[in-house]
Subunit: 467 residues, 2 copies
């Protein structure tokens, strides 16, 4: 019996896709990365996932789990060997709501949009805010962060329970939806953020938050790059738990979005686009008390006071409908991509280092790569920076893979070695970041990964390798 | 050279306490548990801790790390063998504040009160709210929760970096203060909540929160036990992120506190103490906007509306100064302890199960142990219950250790087996819960612990054993 015969016998022939035409949408990443797989497996439930994993282990084949395949680091696509199996979790759509527990147990294949659609009627949501529409399993596998991290934390902080299939096909249930359980380490955290390497998450119990009832947004123009961090601290001090986003955007990124996304209005017109702008959002899920000021008024009052009380911080503030501010913020990615050949980084820093890194790296690139345009934006409130380079056609970095690789290596080196930052703030490891993991990961932790994988049944799951 | 000679040579003779009189306060737990150690080691910094651990490993001796020794499960006291070494972290008092990062790097020996004292001037605090005054290292080792968990999460969610000494004496630094870092599993989480078994935490970088500027508290009398959970959901819906505590108190626990803590006023007088009461707190760190209602008014308005709109939920609400409400809540523990011989449990449940468990167990105990008085209270907003039994002198459970052990085993059995709960919601494992860990821990996870401990250098740290 071949591995495919075994798989067909276990989950039915219709759930094992081998035709090239059927496979192709599972083999191609959302933006980068593609490969070829032997087959795409589409099991229906945790039990079938476990069966597939056990069969693959017996045949010594690698399985790459895949949710909505929206990742940007090749964490859910097969390699070029043609010898891997993609295991799609799309059919795992279970949903059980526990209102008393403020939690829902959700299948790995459910999309974030589907989940929030089901929760909206109850006044709840899963507060991970992303440009893409990933599956629950994909969010857990990468520990996605997004734009409301500073209010709600990452996926890690919002997972109360997991069901996972270990590399040997064993099923492990963890957490049981308890908020307080101090009977050992939090084993769930070994499975979150590892692209499925230690186990394929088939179901997660998620902590739910009350939907915001009122939101106000402004675009801030800091007086200087050095004012961005002091502005963040003032915003935290003055808005407290109301603060739900503090997102930075360079002029180059904003201009790229305005140039390439026709539906956008320029919020700074008729003036020029400022060197740097910040989208600030405050939100509350509670009802306004009788006679209480709305959040728009509160935002305007606090920002006006800030302009008067702290000269040198805030040069300007533009108010408007929240959806217009977010339309600009969410268009940055598309705009930058359309502006030319993109070399993108997803970096994490201590918050005080984000602006310093960007300034220092811009200066270095102006000397070493003057043809490159820096279009950075990111989650300044959490130290995350999407440091994007747009490279003109014909330049060395666009035509010579070695030149591009050297540029990538240099930027990661400065971020990790000089600034103590992370080469992957929220996108995960995948295949794209494997080389940086292999350079920078602590040897003691790699030994630990190896021992854990051996105990769990081997290193045959996922696109990334931690051992 | 004996182990003590080696220790004296490494950290100086004054830092190695062997006299019985010097040792005794390190050998006696805060409430329960005591033992005898060969010596108390008092290293001055991470490097000295590492040296001590390496020496102990060479001599094959067990080290029990100790912070402020305030735990209730024997996690920081030696056993009765006299062969263990207590390693006190009291001298590790480092403190470095990073205001831009909203974080502080703090030595394991700093007390929570000292830490918050240093932060208050900056308008910040570490939001773990406990009756005791533990050290930072102790809080990390147990992953303490406390009364503001539902607003701020547990220690786990607020640790951004760790320095730890592994069982072989190697020093590991994790996290580096980054909020977003998805380059693998969150290894910090293996060290948090394990009583030091996988490594002794010598320093932690903690996420800091803005201090509340305004707080309002009320004592709620639910119309029936079944109304408690619906009240919680209404409170979450109506107060959103303002809700900072939702604590339940049984009549028996309140009466014990009123009887034994003379400084308390009875907030329900001249009426009777209700069967069950809830302390609700709302708080905000942001400034009130001009013309905005105070939180006292908001609390009263919302609760009045609730009484009108949702009959059958709320029978009464008593308003007062927050410190009076909290004085009662914090006196429960002392009151219950003074009421008689105490058999205490620290249980965690899905939130919908807390009241059901207490009701079912009370019913069973009324049949099997009618002499026992149930004085439960707890963190209803997080599913935590301090299920306390007060046992009269002379009864079987007070005089016969086997009878007490059988009662303990039965209650844990119902909580864990029948309700899927946790036998330690926030106190950790320590020595007290070892037997329950050995019964209920997942065999796959115990194998994993064993493999991890072998890789890290063996199982010779801490009072609890996970392998």
């Amino acid at each position: 019996m071949t591995v495919l015969d075994d798989m067909r016998a276990a989950i039915g022939p219709a759930a094992v896709l081998t035709d090239a035409a059927d496979r192709v949408r599972y083999e191609q990443g959302a933006r980068y990365d593609s490969g070829t797989c032997l087959a795409v497996l589409r099991p229906a439930d945790t039990h079938e996932v476990a069966t597939c994993v056990a069969i693959a282990a017996r045949h010594q084949m690698r399985i790459v789990p895949q949710g909505a395949n929206t990742g940007l680091v090749g964490g859910s696509t097969p390699d070029g060997s043609g010898g891997e199996l993609v295991l799609s979790l799309q059919r795992l759509k279970g949903f059980a709501l526990d209102l008393d527990n403020a939690s829902a147990t959700v299948g790995a294949g459910m999309l974030l949009s589907e989940l929030n659609g089901r929760l909206a009627g109850e006044g709840l949501f899963f507060p991970i805010d992303l440009g893409a529409d990933p599956s629950v399993g994909g969010m857990v596998a990468t520990n996605t962060g997004g734009a409301r991290f500073l209010r709600h934390g990452d996926v890690r902080a919002n997972v109360m329970g997991l069901t996972a299939v270990l590399p040997d096909g064993q099923v492990l249930r963890l957490g049981a939806g308890l908020r307080k359980d101090n009977t050992g380490p939090d084993w769930k955290q070994l499975l979150i953020g590892t692209s499925g390497a230690f186990g394929i998450v088939t179901e997660a119990e998620l902590h739910l938050s009350p939907l915001p009832r009122e939101t106000a947004v402004a675009l801030l123009v800091p007086a200087a790059p050095e004012a961005v961090l002091p502005l963040l601290r003032e915003a935290e001090r003055r808005f407290g738990a109301l603060l739900s986003a503090f997102e930075g955007m360079s002029r180059e990124a904003v201009c790229a979005a305005l140039a390439h996304v026709p539906s956008l209005r320029d919020p700074f017109a008729p003036g020029p686009v400022p060197d740097y702008a910040i989208l600030i959002e405050i939100a509350r899920s509670s009802a306004a008390a009788p006679g209480e000021a709305g959040l728009d008024d509160l935002l305007q009052a606090v920002l006006s006071d800030l302009i008067e009380a702290e000269p040198g911080l805030l040069a300007d503030a533009r108010f408007g409908r929240p959806e217009h501010g977010w339309a600009l913020r969410h268009a940055l990615s598309e705009g930058v991509k359309a502006a030319g050949r993109l070399i993108a980084f997803d970096l994490g820093f201590r918050r005080g280092d984000t602006m310093r890194f960007c300034a220092q790296m811009r200066e270095e690139l102006a000397r070493t790569h003057p043809e490159v345009s820096v279009c950075d934006f990111g989650h300044i409130g959490d130290g995350g920076v999407h440091f994007n380079l747009v490279v003109p056609p014909g330049s060395a970095c666009a035509t010579d893979p070695a030149a591009e690789a050297a540029l990538r290596a240099r930027i990661v080196e400065v971020a990790v070695r000089d600034f103590g930052g992370s080469f992957s703030a929220e996108h995960g490891i995948g295949r794209r970041n494997q080389k940086f993991h292999d350079i920078y990961a602590d040897p003691a932790l790699r030994r630990l990964s190896k021992a854990i994988l051996e105990t769990l049944g081997g290193a045959r799951l996922g696109a990334a390798r931690f051992d």
